[in-house]
């Protein structure tokens, strides 16, 4: 699938949600924590020096961005990572990489060919 097709199919609202979700160090830390293994909300809260209420807010934002899934079993709320939207965001940002890689290739050609002419 080309990047353009990917962009067309993936809603910008979702992508904005992903970038907003990633724009905070606590949320990134929560994602990194969940990339190891799934965890209960209370477990996550215990690992961060902020209130349960704040952690819950961060988790809800990650859920809205589609980055975290919540599985409720009785009183247990188990969180797990859903990495797919990260890949979409990564694909978007990669276009900038392509842009600069190609620019540097052209810069190489331009400068080295000029150097050749001067000799």
């Amino acid at each position: 699938m080309s990047i353009f097709t990917l962009m067309g199919e993936y809603s910008s609202m979702q992508l904005n949600g992903v970038f907003n979700a990633l724009g905070d160090p606590t949320r990134r830390a929560i994602l990194a924590r969940l990339s190891g293994r799934e965890a209960r909300v209370t477990e996550i809260a215990g690992e961060f020096p902020i209130s349960l209420n704040s952690v819950s807010k961060h988790i809800r934002m990650l859920e809205r961005a589609g980055l975290v899934r919540r599985c409720i079993s009785g009183r247990e709320h188990l969180l797990s990572l859903n990495a797919a939207p990260l890949a979409e965001a990564q694909a978007w940002i990669e276009k900038y990489r392509s842009f600069w890689e190609d620019r540097l290739a052209k810069l190489d050609t331009y400068v080295t060919s000029r150097k050749g002419k001067r000799k």
Binding site: S12, S35, W92, I93, D102, A105, R114
Partner: protein
């Protein structure tokens, strides 16, 4: 997938290339309008016109002309440290007219020079719904690169 590394990668794009030229020659190619016009030109762009005021606080404008559309880019030079480092802001349709930051480092590698481009502050301005021209241009560029036509 390693989540932590992905999150970090999204904060900035870093691209490196080692080129058989002096740091001075490479540095000057970024601040000479004619040179910029020659190499700041993605696949489907038939011409690029650059105007610039190569001073700290000075502005630049790079307009890439495609068959049907124009892609203006502009910004201000923040650091001009010849031939080591160049820092400038980067505003385009692709950043939804918000400021992103580009740092170019020129590192001596024997007879050659490694050019390192770091493009930062992209996520805050990432608004793909407004970047169709840019992204379609880049997707064609990607295809061209994949097919080897630009290499």
């Amino acid at each position: 997938m390693n989540t932590a590394s992905v999150a970090v990668a999204i904060d900035a794009v870093v691209v490196r290339r080692t080129i058989a030229a002096s740091a001075e020659d490479l540095f000057d190619a970024w601040l000479d309008p004619q040179a910029l016009g020659a190499w700041m030109r993605p696949g489907e762009i038939h011409s690029t016109v650059a105007t610039l005021d190569a001073r700290v606080g000075g502005r630049y404008e790079i307009v890439m002309h495609g068959a049907t559309e124009q892609y203006p880019h502009s910004g201000v030079y923040r650091v001009i440290d010849r031939p080591r480092r160049l820092v400038f802001t980067w505003i385009s349709r692709g950043t939804e007219q918000q400021e992103s930051l580009v740092t170019v480092d020129f590192l001596a590698r024997g007879q050659r020079t490694e050019v390192v481009v770091t493009h930062e502050k992209l996520p805050e301005s990432a608004r793909p719904s407004h970047t169709n021209g840019w992204t379609s241009g880049l997707s064609r560029l990607d295809e061209a690169v994949l097919q080897g036509t630009l290499k």
